[in-house]
Structures are given as C-alpha cells and as structure tokens.
C-alpha cells in the first residue's frame, strides 16, 4: 500500500459515509444497540460471577474436635492440616472464642447463653479455607476419617448448589457473548452490503480502470471500521454512565446489593467493547466487499 493513497482512502471513506448518511446512521445504530446489549450482559456476567466468587470465598470447612483432645493432639492436627494440598488457611477456634462469637451474633439476646461460661458445651474447632470450592467436598470427606474429629461441617448441599450456579453463570455468559458478537457482525455485513451495493457502479468502473482489489476494498474497510468504532463508542458511553448511575441509585435504595464498581475491572471491559466495534465493522465490510469483488 502506498502512502499517497492514504489520503484518497480516508477521503473516499468519509465521502461515502456522508453520501449515504442515513445508511451510516443505521449502521452505527445497529452496532451501538448490539454492543449495548453485549456490554450490559457482560456487566451482568461480571456481577454474577462476582457474587459467585464472594460466596465461594466465604465457604469454609468447620472441623469440630472431640472434647478429650489434648493440646499436643491439636498441635499435631494443625500441622497436618496445614500440609494438606489445597488448604490455604487453617484457624483454630477455642470453645471460649466460639462462645464469644455466638454471643456477638445473638446481640441483645445474648442472655440466653448466661452461665454457660463455667460449663461450655461448644467444642474446639478448626476453620479451614480451600483454594477453590471444588476442593471443599473431597477434602471434607477426607477429614471425616481423622481421629479426634467429632464432626465435619461445610454447608452440605449449599456448596454443591453454589458450584452449579457459578458454572452455569459463566457458561451462559460466554454463550450470550458469542451469539451477540456473531449477530452484530452479520448486521453490519448487511448494512455495509447496502453501501457497497449503492456503489457497485463505482466498483465496476474501478475494476476496468485497473484498480487492485485492495485499492477497492480499503475505503470500505475504513468505512466499516469507522462506523463500528462510532457505534461502539456510543454503546460504551451509554453503558458506562448508565451503569455508574445505577450503582449510585442502588447504593441509596438497596445498600445490601453490592455491584462491582472497581474501574480497573470495568475499563478493560469498555476497551474490549471498542475493539469489538472496530473488529465487527472491519469483518462486516470485508464480508460484503468480498462478494462484489468475486462477481
């Protein structure tokens, strides 16, 4: 590609956009709407997987010990737990501390527990966190067999449901993303095809004048990329400001709902949308021009 053609390509692309202004607006709109839906579902997935991750992080195994366990046995058990693969955190909770925590949780009703200090019925326990939720169930089964272990609790049932839920959220998110991306490419391809069709005479003239295929293609490619970028920019602005104003109003009315507001997580998503727009525009115009150059 020659440098002196660049001016020609840009001029042609913008002339075409202005000449087919309604078509251009339609294309930008199509990209904007597609990416708006895509962006919103991405944010939804982001939040859903965030919720899932938070829930996962709070899953822990409680290992209740028998009443007659000696301090040496406790020390021994702790070392053993810390060296088990998949275990990231081991915390020993004495029966006194367990009682304190129980009182704190009960708040004003803590009087129920009055008098229990002398004869504390709660057992000593270990609280264990694993690297991922997947490891909780097998680990718990493994720990049940240890001596001095009275009982193992890890929210039986809940963990299994949580794992299914987060797997489902991730798969559904991926499928939605791919489907919407493909749909956007074909919508853009259709609109650019109209623009190519409107200029089929010009393409015919270019061909008998001896224009190379790339010379013919390039203005359309630029046009498509520009329209795609314009559409995605529009979508990004709407999604970004829409989302942060949603966060603002939710913080007031539903303070317990925690939406992801970390810009370090949101910004790559927005950049991704912009690049998506560019790629969709380029892909769409390549598909459309290709068919005309063949004929």
């Amino acid at each position: 590609m020659r440098l002196r053609n660049v001016y020609y390509y840009i001029r042609e692309a913008f002339q075409s956009i202005l000449r087919n202004s309604w078509l251009s607006v339609a294309s930008v709109g199509v990209v904007a709407v597609s990416l708006l839906i895509l962006g919103s579902s991405l944010l939804l997935v982001l939040n859903a997987s965030n919720v899932a991750a938070n829930l996962e992080a709070s899953v822990e195994i409680s290992l209740f010990l028998k009443d007659n366990t000696t301090p040496a046995q406790i020390k021994n058990l702790e070392d053993r737990l810390k060296n088990t693969p998949g275990v990231v955190q081991v915390e020993f909770v004495t029966k006194q501390r367990a009682l304190e925590e129980m009182k704190k949780n009960l708040g004003d009703n803590k009087d129920i527990l009055a008098g229990l200090e002398e004869k504390n019925p709660l057992p000593d326990a270990f609280r264990i966190k694993t690297q991922s939720v997947d490891q909780v169930v097998p680990l718990a089964q493994q720990l049940e067999g240890l001596e001095q272990v009275e009982q193992v609790r890890y929210g039986q049932g809940v963990v299994e449901n949580l794992m299914t839920f987060s797997r489902w959220v991730r798969t559904a998110g991926m499928v939605t993303m791919v489907l919407l991306g493909v749909a956007a490419v074909f919508l853009i391809a259709t609109t650019i095809r109209l623009s190519v069709f409107a200029r089929r005479r010009e393409i015919g003239v270019m061909k008998f004048l001896g224009a190379t295929n790339w010379f013919i293609r390039f203005p359309f490619l630029l046009e498509g990329m520009f329209l795609g970028l314009a559409g995605s920019l529009l979508a990004v602005i709407v999604v970004y400001y829409g989302y942060f104003s949603l966060i603002g109003s939710i913080q007031v009315s539903l303070p317990f709902m925690q939406l992801v507001s970390d810009r370090r997580l949101i910004m790559p998503l927005m950049e991704g949308l912009l690049i998506m727009g560019l790629v969709i525009g380029a892909a769409g115009s390549m598909i459309s021009v290709h068919r005309f150059l063949k004929a």
Binding site: R2, R4, N5, Y8, R19, R201, E202, G204, V205, M206, K207, F208, L209, G210, A211, T212, N213, F215
Partner: protein, 228 residues
C-alpha cells in the same frame, strides 16, 4: 500485439459465444469489429482485458499469456488498456475532472502528476472549459469525450471501444471518430466494436466480421458488408 489462438468461449449454461477464433492484431492498428448483436464482439474484447477467460485456446497481449495470468496481475494488465463503453460509465457524483483523475488515482498516481495530465487530455478532447461540470449536465457526445479522456490519460497501448457511438447521433459520432483517429495516429492501437455502417465504410480500416461466434471475414481496408 494481440494474438488469439483457437479461442472458444462457452458461457455457463452452454451458450457458445466464440468458436475456434484465431486472429492477430499488430501494434498501431485500427480494427473494426462488426457483426450482428450476439455474434461475439463483446466477448472477444472481454477476453483481452480478462473480464472473461476462454474455455479453450490462448490469448496473448504484449507477449503475455492473458489466460494464465494470476488474478493479482489483472489490474496491471488493465492499466495498459483504455476502455470506452456505449453507456460511458462515468461516475455521476464526480466532476469531469474528477472522473478523469480517478483513472490516475486508481493507479496510485501523485496529485502533481494528476494536475499535469488531466488538463492536457481534457484539452485534447476539447472539454478544457467543462472540467468542473458534472456528467449529468453534459450532452451524450460530451460525456463520451470525457470517457475517452479517461481512457487515454494513463497512456495506454490499446483502446477497446465497445459501440462507442451506439447512443449518439451521426454528426457527433463523426466528431468522436476523428478523435479516435487522432489517438490512433499517435501510435495507440484501437479495437472498436460497432454497428455504424457509414463510419466503417468511410474510414477504410481493417474490418473483422463475426457471425455466430466465428470470424467470417478479415479485410485490410474493409467495409461494413462483404462486397463480392
């Protein structure tokens, strides 16, 4: 310069456009292609600029085998050939100047070269004063002059004209013929498909007559119809 060796062209659907055509055209010649509609005149020209590929046989242009040319070489072949059509094929949204300049832009010519060459050829075809006008505001004859200017601006070695006067009145047709003669005198080969009997008869140029896809007559100083 142009050689056809046993060229047969059958279009999809079995329509036989050319049958076993062998002919040679020298550099600097002025050749009329005559014959009824559907005789294969357009197909013959399309084989030269590789709009179509022959079903059998070989086509050579300037020593290069057009039939075996790779697709990416085709644009460079076409830059050596100026094309003039019955329906002009000008771009309505571009001015006269821009239409002619377009042929140069396509080849990647610089703005300086364009500013130098376009006025020169517009002057040659007598349209220097209409450079800024859109084709829609010109008469048919003037539009065809623009397309001739566009065809010659890249100094082609060959001009292919497919019924260039088909839509024009006799007087205008004659003026255009003078222009083509002028271009031919400068050394450019011209192949012209036409139905204009009086022009062919008066010009006394080589005439190749096609009928049913075969060359039925090839005369040095021929006329439109065969004279026994």
């Amino acid at each position: 310069m142009i050689h056809f060796y046993n060229v047969t062209k059958i279009y999809p659907g079995g329509i036989k456009a050319l049958t076993d055509v062998t002919l040679h055209i020298q550099k600097g010649e002025f050749v009329f292609l005559v014959g009824p509609s559907g005789a294969g005149k357009s197909t013959l020209t399309k084989l030269i600029y590789r709009e179509e590929l022959p079903t059998r046989g070989q086509v050579l242009f300037n020593g290069k085998n057009v039939t075996r040319m790779r697709p990416r070489e085709v644009p460079y072949l076409r830059r050596k050939i100026g094309m003039v059509f019955q329906d002009f094929r000008l771009l309505p949204q571009k001015t006269v100047f821009e239409n002619v300049a377009f042929a140069m832009e396509v080849t990647g010519a610089s703005g300086r070269e364009i500013k130098k060459s376009v006025p020169r050829v517009l002057d040659m075809v007598g349209l220097a004063s209409k450079a800024g006008v859109f084709p829609g505001h010109l008469s048919g004859g003037e539009q065809q002059r623009v397309s001739i200017a566009r065809a010659i601006v890249n100094n082609p070695v060959l001009i292919i004209a497919d019924e260039p006067t088909g839509n024009l009145d006799p007087e205008t047709s004659w003026e255009l013929m003078k222009l083509f003669l002028d271009i031919n005198r400068r050394g450019t080969t011209i192949i012209m498909a036409t139905h204009a009997q009086d022009i062919v008869d008066a010009m006394k140029k080589r005439v190749i007559e096609l009928a049913g896809g075969r060359v039925v007559r090839d005369e040095k100083e021929g006329t439109y119809r065969y004279e026994a």
